[in-house]
């Protein structure tokens, strides 16, 4: 075999490897973009909920002025969600807001007039719908994060990822307590 052929083969192999690397890089970029898009799905739902909360607080205040602590808890949690940076922080803040809202609705149980008001009932329905949507978008987001993290951690993509600055994405965890089914208590009904 002449030296020209050897050089040709070597160049061919290098070109092939280059193509493969480009393919891997593009795959990582696509995966990262999917994660970003999935995150914006969660973000949309969080914003919708945040926009409903002032209305809800006002409605409840109209009937139950003295439940100051609960209102403050909710408002505080809401601003924390808005200020959160990154998925992990937002997840924690989201869980706190969910808890705060649950307190608020539990408190509202003691005010039958409030429960009967159409405004409150509609808000309640919309909020429960948004909670479900948040759950589904969280599921989708976490799946994409899993895929992305798997890619950047496994060989051979790991090589490219490390050299081009691909970082792991955070999961949007649900609260352990939040995942449990709400238990119905029969003892404390009026």
């Amino acid at each position: 075999m002449g030296p020209a052929i050897i050089i040709g083969v070597v160049i061919g192999v290098i070109v092939l490897i280059a193509f493969v690397m480009v393919g891997m890089y593009n795959g990582l970029v696509r995966s990262r973009n999917r994660v970003g898009e999935a995150w914006s799905g969660i973000d949309v739902q969080l914003r919708r909920r945040a926009s409903l909360i002032p209305n809800l607080v006002e409605t409840v205040k109209g009937y139950a002025e003295h439940e100051r602590e609960t209102f403050e808890e909710v408002t505080r949690a809401r601003s924390m969600v808005e200020q959160a940076g990154g998925a992990g922080e937002a997840a924690g803040a989201n869980n706190m807001l969910t808890q705060a809202l649950r307190h608020l609705f539990a408190v509202a149980e003691n005010y039958p007039e409030l429960k009967a008001s159409t405004n409150f009932m509609e808000l309640q329905k919309e909020l429960s719908d948004i909670e479900e949507k948040i759950a589904f978008s969280r599921q989708f987001y976490n799946q994409n994060v899993l895929d992305y993290n798997n890619r950047i951690q496994t060989f051979p993509n790991a090589v490219i990822a490390r050299n081009f600055g691909f970082k792991e994405a955070e999961f949007f965890e649900a609260d352990e307590a939040g995942r449990e089914e709400v238990k119905v208590e029969f003892g404390s009904q009026d």
Binding site: E37, G41, Q45, D129, K133, F136, Q139, F140
Partner: protein, 507 residues
């Protein structure tokens, strides 16, 4: 539970590849048919042209060997054109054709808020754009999806399904359809449906003609059959010897002649058969995979398992199904007495195996839940023909008697005998006995209706808020318990009715 993702990219790629192969296979299957049609077209054209050419003196140019080559070339070109046109139409209108065949009506969010919400939430979970939602106004419980890609997909459920399943079971079924949309199963399925429908056409036309003739008189049908069939049978030995001779003379001519002779059989029988086999080979696996994906998406396999159990015992009677689209439905919609020809190639895996597969996912499902679901489906099935006949007889008998009691209490006694409580989540009330019309409104679960008369698939009813309308006979409902007061002198024809105003019960 496996760690697979909902949108498995390799499966989507496999489906895309299979779709392309399928279209090619269909083109190959369809080519002889197109060539046959083109040949007839060309014969006509050749005759006309030949007459014209003879008139102008160009007869020599269109006959002989060169003429034959020209003829074959033009035939080939025309058949390719026909094929391209068919392929284009198939792609463009596949979805619309399937929806039309099923009788699906698009629904807005205002008409079906629960369905919309379920679909919306599941689409968020799957990362899919929301498909268009349709409803088929039929009492049977089934669903399907159609469309060439997720952005142009449509999801169809029947009215009966909405009445039969609860929220979590409906989620399971919708998730199954979304999984099929996402994996491009529906693309495959829709193209198949249109292709199969197309290939069934020649045979269907011939069968329809013969059915019509047989209906006129059995002698007419048999006469035509024998008239056409016997010569064909008689020419077979003649044809074989002819082909033999032609092969001896000129191989190419022999091949072409054989091809032309076998072509009709291929068109009427061979092509549809190959289409069915193609379909069956490809689709069976997809059902299992779609079930698995649905369980993964909802994180609640019990919902889908219960839904499948209910749907299996509820059956799909009364559903208008084109056999070519049968494979698209969640559960096999063809009745047990459909042609073996249609049933064999419907490509659905056996339901109990599917339920077992889904039930094995996650933490398992208690068999009692499945049994309850099956019973609920069986109840739904029998409720599809509610015993309206018995109560309907009673009012008629009552009209025959001289009845000194005033109209209002009579109406009350009637209501007790023919009243039903609607058990479906939401039952449409129509202004006319036509399921394709827009309903006057939706009756909530628990509303009581009085049945006034039957009218085909519908019951003419009076609602509790004094509206007249029509309700589907198959809408889920239960007879209201007749209060003891109805078992009074009013209903017994033997007792002489001497009623004082003060003696009226409840008066």
């Amino acid at each position: 539970m496996t760690q697979e993702r909902v949108l498995i990219w390799d499966r989507i790629d496999a489906n895309r590849r299979n779709s392309r192969l399928l279209v090619l296979a269909f083109a190959a299957v369809l080519l002889p048919v197109a060539a046959y049609l083109a040949m007839y077209l060309m014969l006509w054209v050749a005759m006309v042209l030949g007459v014209m050419a003879a008139g102008v003196g160009l007869a020599d140019a269109v006959s002989g060997d060169s003429g034959f080559i020209v003829f074959a070339a033009v035939d080939g070109a025309v058949s390719v054109l026909i094929l391209l046109a068919v392929a284009y139409l198939q792609f463009r209108f596949a979805s619309a054709i399937v929806l039309r065949l099923a009788g699906a009506r698009p629904v807005t969010r205002a008409e079906e808020p629960e369905l919309w919400r379920t679909a919306e939430n599941l689409c968020i979970g799957a990362g899919l754009p929301q498909p268009r939602l349709h409803v088929v106004e039929s009492g049977a419980a089934n669903a399907f999806a159609t469309g060439l890609d997720p952005a142009r997909a449509s999801l169809v459920v029947t009215r009966g399904l909405l009445g039969l399943l609860d929220r979590r079971e409906l989620e399971g079924v919708v998730a199954h359809e979304l999984a099929q949309i996402a994996n491009y199963d529906t693309r495959l399925g829709t193209l198949l449906a249109v292709g199969v429908a197309l290939l069934r056409l020649p045979l269907g036309i011939v069968l329809a003609i013969f059915r019509f003739l047989f209906r006129i008189h059995w002698a007419v049908g048999w006469g035509l059959l024998l008239y056409l069939g016997l010569p064909v049978l008689a020419t077979i030995p003649f044809g074989i010897s002819l082909v033999d001779d032609m092969f001896a003379e000129d191989t190419l001519a022999g091949v072409l002649f054989t091809f032309a002779m076998l072509l009709p059989f291929y068109i009427f029988v061979g092509a549809p058969a190959s289409a069915y086999l193609l379909r069956r080979a490809v689709l069976r696996q997809h059902e299992y995979l779609a079930d698995a994906d649905a369980a993964l998406l909802t994180r609640y396999p019990e919902g889908l398992a219960r839904a499948l159990a209910k749907m299996s015992s509820a059956g799909s009677e009364g559903l208008r199904v084109a056999a070519a689209t049968a494979h698209l439905y969640v559960v096999d919609p063809l009745p047990a007495d459909a042609l073996l020809w249609d049933r064999i190639f419907s490509a659905h895996p056996p339901l109990d195996q599917r339920i077992a597969a889904v039930a094995a996912m996650g933490g398992g499902i208690p068999p009692s839940a499945l049994r309850e679901a099956e019973e609920a489906g069986a109840r739904f099935h029998s409720a599809a023909a509610p015993a309206v006949a018995a109560p309907a007889a009673a009012p008629a008998a009552r009209y025959g008697r001289p009845d000194p009691v005033e109209a209002a209490p009579t109406r009350g006694a009637e209501a007790a005998a023919t009243a039903f409580r609607l058990t479906g989540a939401s039952t449409p009330l129509y202004g006319t006995p036509d399921a394709a019309s827009a309903p006057l409104g939706q009756l909530a679960s628990g509303s009581v209706i009085t049945v006034l008369e039957e009218s085909g698939h519908f019951l003419r009813v009076l609602t509790s808020d004094d509206r007249f309308g029509y309700v589907l006979r198959s809408a889920p409902m239960e007879a209201v318990e007749q209060p003891a007061v109805a078992e009074s002198a009013f209903t017994d024809p033997e007792v002489e009715v001497l009623v004082e105003p003060d003696d009226r019960p409840g008066g």
